[in-house]
Symmetry: C2
């Protein structure tokens, strides 16, 4: 289908990646997360998109995000997997209802549990790609499994159980 | 044994807490971790200590470390549990050999897997306490389970499988 690509934050996505990120649809009141909130000016501000059946997020760690020089610290990897997975959970919940993310009611997910397996040292200085896949949607629960890769090599695997925030508990 | 207390980073520990943190013993070459390296000037610089059979770390999140206003984001909680657990693994490995952390060879641990269960929203603006307990030491592997509390209430539980970096792979 040709070589058309989209360049976001220095990372090249396949053309079919949508332009507006999951996190761009979060209501302002729940957009302050250090990992994924677009209103947290000091945070990571990760952005997640559909890429077919998978969700994808690219993030280039900051110079200080190292474990030892040349490699990324585990807490950042956990953060990326966590926030990308809750974003994927929200997007999947809208999709399961056949509606767009800018329709009401707004859905936002919290992490109930997070599992990360660190398979290889993750190099610094390159964009990291987190890819999520929805394993289960049941009631308010969504389970997302994911990989975190650098240069096409999977360095970590994640699994997040995300739970939708009840409407009455969404901040105003 | 009396009410003598030690105040560290605004948090009150029991008297028997030692004064030099596990991370203060790490060789310079492995002291750059964003979570726990004393040489990472932009990092969290967490400090962990023995408190009897448990290890303890107190950290007051920065204002930007929120999920929603008033509550801490999950990635920070994962980071604190991760770095406190690898520190605890190192300290436990020295202790198992009956030697102090300033003796050779130096031991440093990496995370093989991290599990975090988020039990309650973790409030912002207060010190968080991570308490670790060594579940298993076997060869180069140490398993540490932990709780993360705010104001005495357990908000998250963690489990880390840590693996000792082979001596030949320790950075110079």
């Amino acid at each position: 289908m040709g070589a058309s690509k989209l360049n976001l934050r220095g990372y090249t996505f396949a053309k079919e990646t949508s332009l507006k990120a999951f996190q761009d649809y979060y209501p302002d009141s729940v957009s302050h997360c250090y990992g994924c909130g677009r209103l947290n000016t000091q945070g990571l501000q990760i952005k997640s998109y559909w890429d077919g059946e998978e969700s994808v997020c690219a993030f280039t760690p900051w110079p200080q995000h190292i474990a030892v020089p040349g490699f990324i610290y585990g807490g950042l990897i956990a953060s990326l997997i966590d926030c990308h997975s809750t974003g994927t959970a929200a997007a999947a919940a809208y999709r399961a209802e056949g509606r767009e993310m800018d329709t009401l009611p707004p859905y936002r997910f919290l992490t109930a549990s997070l599992q990360v397996d660190y398979l290889k040292p993750t190099p610094s200085g390159v964009p990291l790609e987190v890819r999520g896949r929805v394993e289960e949607i049941k009631g308010r629960k969504v389970v997302v499994s994911s990989t975190l890769s650098a240069g096409g090599i999977v360095c970590a695997r994640g699994r997040v159980v995300a739970v939708r925030v009840p409407e009455g508990l969404m901040p105003e």
